[in-house]
C-alpha cells in the first residue's frame, strides 16, 4: 500500500468510528447505572429501546454496576438515573436528599439454585433454614461478595441463620457479577443465590435446578431514581416518571413476555 492509500484507510476508519459513536448533536445522553443483575438479565435493554423509540431526542446509556457502586457513582455525579435493588442503601440515599425522584418500578425474585441431587431435600424450606442446612453439611456455596443488592440479601439470610460463612472452606467468593457467579456455581456443582431472570436466561447450560424454597423474603424490588444535580435533570426525571407510568409498566410487561414468556419482573 502506498502512503496515499494508507491515508485513505485511516480516514475511512475514522469515519466509521464516528458513525459507530453516532453522536447526533440534538440527542441528550442520559447515563443510567443499573444493578448488574438487571443488565445481565437483558430486560432493561428492551425497555430502554422502547423508551428511545418514543423519545428520539434522548439516548439512554446503560452501565451495569453493583448497587453500592451505582449509588456511589451517582453521588460522584457520574450517573443521571440509577435503578438499584438494596432498599436500605436507597433509603439512605433518599434521606440524604440526593434523589430528585424515586419510584419503585418492578420486582423480581431470588431463588436458591443448586445441583439436582441435593436440591430436592431443601424443597419448601425457608431461605434461612436452607442456608443453615448448607452450612451444616459444608456444601459448596458461591457468593457474589461484591456489594450488590443480591449479595446484601444473601448476607441478611446468613445473619438470620446465625452463620458467618466468610473464610469457610466451602464458601467461594467471586466478587463479580451475577452471570459469572452462576457459571462458577454451575461448574463447581454448588449452591448460589441467583436472581430468577438470570437463572432463566442461562437455562439448561448451568445444570443447576431451582431448589424451590419458600419464596418469603426472597423478593427483589427495584427502585429507579433521578439523581439530584444531574445536568440532564429534565430528561432523567421524565424517564423515571415514564418507567413508573402506565405505558412504562406496559413496556416492562411486554419485555417480560418476549424474553421469558412470563412476568418475571412484575411491574
Amino acid at each position: 500500500m502506498g502512503s496515499r492509500s494508507w491515508l485513505t484507510a485511516v480516514l475511512a476508519a475514522g469515519l466509521a468510528a464516528g458513525a459507530l459513536a453516532g453522536c447526533s448533536p440534538d440527542e441528550t445522553r442520559v447515563t443510567v447505572v443499573a444493578g448488574t443483575t438487571l443488565v445481565d438479565g437483558r430486560l432493561l435493554e428492551e425497555v430502554t429501546a422502547e423508551y428511545e423509540a418514543q423519545r428520539p431526542d434522548v439516548r439512554l446509556s446503560v452501565v451495569g454496576a453493583p448497587t453500592a457502586r451505582a449509588l456511589a457513582l451517582a453521588e460522584a455525579g457520574s450517573a443521571d438515573v440509577t435503578i438499584t435493588h438494596d432498599p436500605s442503601l436507597e433509603e439512605r440515599f433518599i434521606s440524604e436528599g440526593r434523589a430528585e425522584l424515586a419510584e419503585e418500578v418492578f420486582s423480581s425474585r431470588f431463588i436458591l439454585a443448586g445441583p439436582r441431587r441435593v436440591s430436592g431435600a431443601l424443597r419448601g424450606l425457608s431461605a434461612v433454614e436452607a442456608f443453615g442446612r448448607i452450612a451444616e453439611q459444608g456444601h459448596v456455596f458461591v457468593s457474589r461478595a461484591d456489594g450488590s443488592g443480591t449479595h446484601q440479601v444473601e448476607r441478611d439470610i446468613w445473619d438470620r441463620a446465625g452463620v458467618d460463612p466468610t473464610g469457610m472452606q466451602w464458601y467461594v467468593e467471586t466478587r463479580q457479577g451475577m452471570g459469572l457467579t452462576l457459571q462458577v456455581a454451575s461448574q463447581r456443582e454448588a449452591f448460589v443465590l441467583v436472581e430468577l431472570s438470570v437463572f432463566l436466561s442461562a437455562g439448561e447450560t448451568t445444570g443447576l435446578v431451582d431448589a424451590a424454597l419458600d419464596p418469603a423474603g426472597l423478593d427483589n424490588p427495584y427502585r429507579a431514581m433521578a439523581v439530584k444535580g444531574s445536568p440532564v435533570a429534565d430528561e432523567s426525571r421524565a424517564f423515571v416518571e415514564w418507567l413508573a407510568s402506565r405505558s412504562g409498566r406496559e413496556a416492562v410487561r411486554r419485555a417480560n413476555l418476549e424474553l421469558y414468556g412470563a412476568q418475571i419482573f412484575e411491574p
Binding site: V172, E173, V184, S186, E189
Partner: protein, 230 residues
C-alpha cells in the same frame, strides 16, 4: 489533572498497605506465568529448531500453525478451552474449569508458538556459514538441533522473554477459563479489569504498577542471561 493526582495518591496508599490478598494475586500471577512460559519454551524450542532445520512432511502446515499461533487472539483461545473444559464438554470430567491449571493450559497454547517462532527465526538468522558447518558435523538430527539451539542461545533468551511477556500481560484467556475468582484464580491483569470496572482506579493503578515491575524485571534479567538487550 487533579483527578489523576488523586488516583495516583490512592494507588500509593493501596500499595503501602497492601496485604496478603494482593500478594496472593502476585504469587499466582508469577506461578501461572512461569509455569506456562516454562512449558511453552520446552515445547516451543524443539519445535522451532525442527522448523528451522528439518525437512519433513507437514513442515509447511506446522509453520503456518506457528504463524497463526503467534498472533492468536487470547480471548478466543480462552473461549475454545472453556468449551473443551466445560463440565458437559469433551474434557469436562477433568474438573479443570475455573482452576489455575486451566489458566496454565490456556497460556501454554499462547506461549508455545511465540517460543517456536522466535527460536526458528533466530536459528535461520545464524546465516549460511554456520548452517554449512553444522551440516559438515555429520551429527544425528537431535544433536544437530541441540548444537543449533546452543548457537542461537540469545534467541532462546528472547523466546523466554517474549513468551513470558505475552502470558503475564494477557487478560482475555485467563479471565475466561480462570473466572477471576478471589483467592483462587485472580491474577494481576484480571484484578486490573475488575478494579477499573468498579471504578476503584487507585487499586487498579497499584496492580498495574506491580505488573509493570514484574514485566520489566523479567525482561532485563532474561536479556542479561542472553548476553544482549534490545
Amino acid at each position: 489533572m487533579e483527578f489523576l493526582w488523586e488516583v495516583l495518591a490512592d494507588a500509593v496508599e493501596v500499595l503501602s498497605r497492601a496485604g496478603p490478598e494482593l500478594w496472593m494475586v502476585v504469587a499466582l500471577t508469577l506461578a501461572v506465568s512461569a509455569a506456562s512460559t516454562g512449558i511453552g519454551v520446552l515445547l516451543g524450542v524443539p519445535l522451532g529448531a525442527a522448523l528451522a532445520l528439518g525437512r519433513f512432511r507437514g513442515r509447511g502446515v506446522l509453520r503456518l500453525a506457528v504463524s497463526v499461533g503467534m498472533g492468536f487472539p487470547p480471548v478466543l483461545a480462552g473461549l475454545l478451552l472453556l468449551l473443551v473444559f466445560w463440565r458437559s464438554g469433551p474434557l469436562g470430567g477433568l474438573g479443570l474449569i475455573f482452576t489455575p491449571a486451566a489458566m496454565v493450559i490456556a497460556q501454554v497454547v499462547l506461549a508455545t508458538p511465540v517460543a517456536a517462532g522466535v527460536v526458528s527465526g533466530s536459528i535461520r538468522g545464524l546465516g549460511m556459514v554456520p548452517m554449512e558447518q553444522l551440516a559438515a558435523l555429520r551429527l544425528g538430527r537431535v544433536a544437530r538441533g541441540m548444537v543449533a539451539v546452543r548457537e542461537a542461545r540469545a534467541g532462546v533468551a528472547t523466546a523466554v522473554a517474549a513468551s513470558f511477556g505475552r502470558v503475564v500481560a494477557e487478560v482475555g484467556a485467563v479471565l475466561v477459563v480462570g473466572g477471576n475468582i478471589v483467592g483462587e484464580t485472580r491474577v494481576l491483569t484480571t484484578l486490573i479489569v475488575e478494579e477499573s470496572r468498579q471504578a476503584r482506579f487507585g487499586a487498579a493503578v497499584a496492580a498495574g504498577a506491580v505488573l509493570l515491575v514484574i514485566a520489566l524485571f523479567v525482561n532485563v534479567a532474561v536479556g542479561r542471561l542472553g548476553g544482549d538487550g534490545p
